[in-house]
Amino acid sequence: MIEAVDLRFGYPGRTVGQGLSLALRAGEVVALLGPNGGGKTTLLKTLLGLLPAQGGEVRLDGRSLTAWALPERARRVGYVPQGQASTFGYSARQMVLMGRTAHLGLIARPGARDQVVADQALRRLGIDHLADRSVHRMSGGERQLVLIARALAQEPRAVLLDEPTASLDFGNQGLVMRAIRALAGEGLGVLFTTHDPNQARRCADTALLLREGCVLAAGPVAQVVNAANLRALYGADVDDSGGPRGLPVFLPVFQAGVGGQ
């Protein structure tokens, strides 16, 4: 669906990363892990075509991203930015309806079918009761769900999320992760960036570890997200001594003599 081949990415005049290849398939969740400034957001924007690739290629459905018109792209790939407060307090429904932009002509306004799609998107994320509430009067988690619903209203086949759980409280993190899993269950390709290796381990199928713009490791989470790789990725001691049953739990070491090496 989305494929990057030997990609060099960055901002005009500054290369952030290179030699990156990845593939996002239908029904699959990919987690992008890495330290701050490691190029996660830049990579995401390049995959979306918001930044031009500096080398290599991003392909969407087998065709170079640059060959797609902007609205065509938006009908295939949805984007969930880091939830920030918007200037104007649109209602959740108005916000989600904006996801219909790529389906509507220049001077068209959303019609009955667009309303149906928007309401469905709200229901899929279980926030239809918030439809008429202003985004200014929502919690960070609710706002994040509205943005995911907006991406769904684009009727895309893949969704890219930029740190969907940053600045969310514990309960809301679970809510968003559940939503991501549900989307993949419906056959969408999902790629998200995160700071939390535990999220990647539990929510994603494959992980890509990005350090200083280069891929440190990539593959199924069970093989890639481990203490050794995390140590190399973040340059910090990792405690994975918890979680006696099932999946390991990764924590940065903060107590002398506990975990780590």
Binding site: L48, G78, F88, T101
Partner: protein
């Protein structure tokens, strides 16, 4: 929420009625009806209604609607509720054009044309400057270019005023800078109405896209909006109506800043309802203020003074309940 637009329409209709009847020559409702329906009426009253008040009413409504819609559109585009239509130098450019027209004694039509051209050129200059800078958020760059060129134009205005003949030209310049509709004649209306209708038409057609354009640039693009194209179209349309308004009425401040807030208060933030409501409300309110300007004292009070007098305390009150104001 739904009734908000009706309130705005009511304000406009009430404004029209008051503007026709109130003034140095009072016109009673039956007399007004006679004048409008072609009934029995003295020639002088007929002249007051048709030749004097009607053109001025049309001009006030057009200017009020134009400034309010342009203000709302710029607020959306710049994602900042404290922006007014002169943010990109349209008013300052038009003012400099008009002052140069007065300085070179171009006559009324020449002055208006110079003002109109000045507004368009100023914004084109700002836009070209903003586009030449290829770094950073395009909206922020545009805003900064507007501030820089605006202050440059301000210096130009000061210079022309300094050089002007203090007895013949300076009073005309001062009066013009304070705004007035006293000069509204039926013959001049097309020069105002055609660009205003054109610009408002474009903005009203694009009004749902304005919702999308009020999102951060990258979000809007990821949603599939052709932001560069839309930005050019919206800026051009809003500049057209602002320049035409300033050319016809001089600098009338505050309307373009305050009315969008009032409209938002009535119908919420979505531009789909906001723009028509702002147009109706802005037209009606400016009509009320213009009626005050010509009837409250023996001499005409410049419009800009009244809009500032009414607008600023009003705006402070709005700031007090800021969150509600733009939600």
């Amino acid at each position: 929420m739904r009734s908000g637009a009706w309130w705005a329409l009511l304000v406009l209709l009430a404004g029209v009625l008051v503007a026709f009847t109130v003034g140095r020559t009072p016109v009673s409702l039956p007399q007004l009806w006679a004048a409008l329906s072609g009934g029995e009426l003295s020639e002088s009253l007929r002249t007051v209604v048709w030749q004097i008040r009607a053109p001025r009413i049309v001009a006030a409504v057009a200017v009020g609607a134009a400034l309010s819609v342009a203000g709302a559109a710029f607020q959306g585009l710049f994602r900042n509720p404290l922006v007014s239509p002169d943010i990109l130098g349209a008013s300052a450019g038009a003012a400099l054009g008009a002052l140069l027209g007065i300085f070179f004694s171009l006559g009324l039509a020449g002055i208006q044309l110079a003002a109109f051209a000045g507004g368009l050129v100023a914004v084109a200059l700002v836009y070209a400057t903003g586009s030449a800078v290829r770094q950073g958020d395009p909206i922020l760059v545009l805003l900064l270019a507007g501030i820089v060129i605006g202050s440059l134009l301000g210096a130009g205005i000061g210079l022309v005023k300094t050089l002007a003949d203090p007895y013949n030209q300076l009073p005309a310049m001062t009066f013009w800078l304070l705004g007035s509709l006293a000069g509204a004649h039926a013959d001049d209306l097309p020069a105002l109405l055609v660009p205003v209708a054109l610009g408002l038409g474009v903005l009203l057609l694009l009004r749902w896209r304005l919702d999308v354009m009020s999102l951060p640039e990258e979000e809007a693009r990821a949603l599939g909006a052709r932001t560069t194209l839309l930005r050019v179209g919206i800026v051009a349309a809003a500049t057209l109506v602002t320049a035409a308004s300033v050319a016809a009425a001089g600098i009338v401040g505050w309307v373009g800043l305050v009315v969008p807030h009032l409209a938002r208060f009535l119908v919420g933030p979505s531009f789909v309802r906001l723009l028509p409501t702002a147009a109706l409300l802005g037209g009606g309110l400016l009509l009320f203020i213009d009626t005050l300007a010509r009837s409250v004292a023996a001499v005409e009070i410049p419009l800009g003074i009244l809009t500032a007098l009414i607008g600023s305390p009003f705006f402070i009150a709005l700031l007090g309940r800021a969150q509600k104001g733009w939600q």
